[in-house]
Amino acid sequence: MADEEDHLNKRQTLKAAIHFTVGRVCEEIGAEQDLTFSRHVIATLSELTSRQLQTYATDLEAFAGHAKRTVIAPDDVKLLVRRNPQMSAHIKALIETTEEEKGAKKKKKKKTKDSEGKSMDVDIETID
């Protein structure tokens, strides 16, 4: 009983947080375009967002499961947005940039290791 109550509370809190974010996004767009968004519009948009996120949760779980994984990976998100070509291209580009960044970091690490190796060689030489 208490568990169920906790669960409901958590759900409400998360929904409220989504509502807050959606409200802020609408405010920003309203300020840019000299418009005001009615409260009902913000409420409907946040309901839409939380429903969408619920569908995404089950879809992502199914995609990861199909790939015999229990951890959802960026590739699953790529699959999630495959229907919208622009969104798909955007997400692919984001994945590529993060991968490049990771690659650069790895290279740097390798380089520092190499230089350490060199200094060790020198040490050995001096000992000789």
Partner: protein
């Protein structure tokens, strides 16, 4: 304004059917980005509809008109 990664993570965790399911940090960032785009797109389309009708407040009627196409696009 961006969706916080913590919010997305907690919300997804709450709606997974299998309690063993976990999620990669990069994937959370991507989902936050997708949700941000969905909200922005909806708000912008409703704003455009309001402008076309010459109104300076975006109402549910404006949102209703763009809702069907929005749902097909996301």
């Amino acid at each position: 304004m961006q969706f916080s990664e913590k919010l997305i993570h907690e919300f997804l965790k709450l709606h997974f059917e299998n309690s063993k399911t976990k999620i990669n940090v990069e994937a959370i960032k991507l989902i936050a980005e997708v949700m941000q785009l969905v909200v922005k797109e909806g708000a912008l389309r409703a704003a455009h509809q309001a402008k076309v009708e010459g109104s300076d407040t975006v109402t549910v009627e404006h949102l209703e008109k763009i809702l069907a196409q929005l749902l097909l696009d996301i």
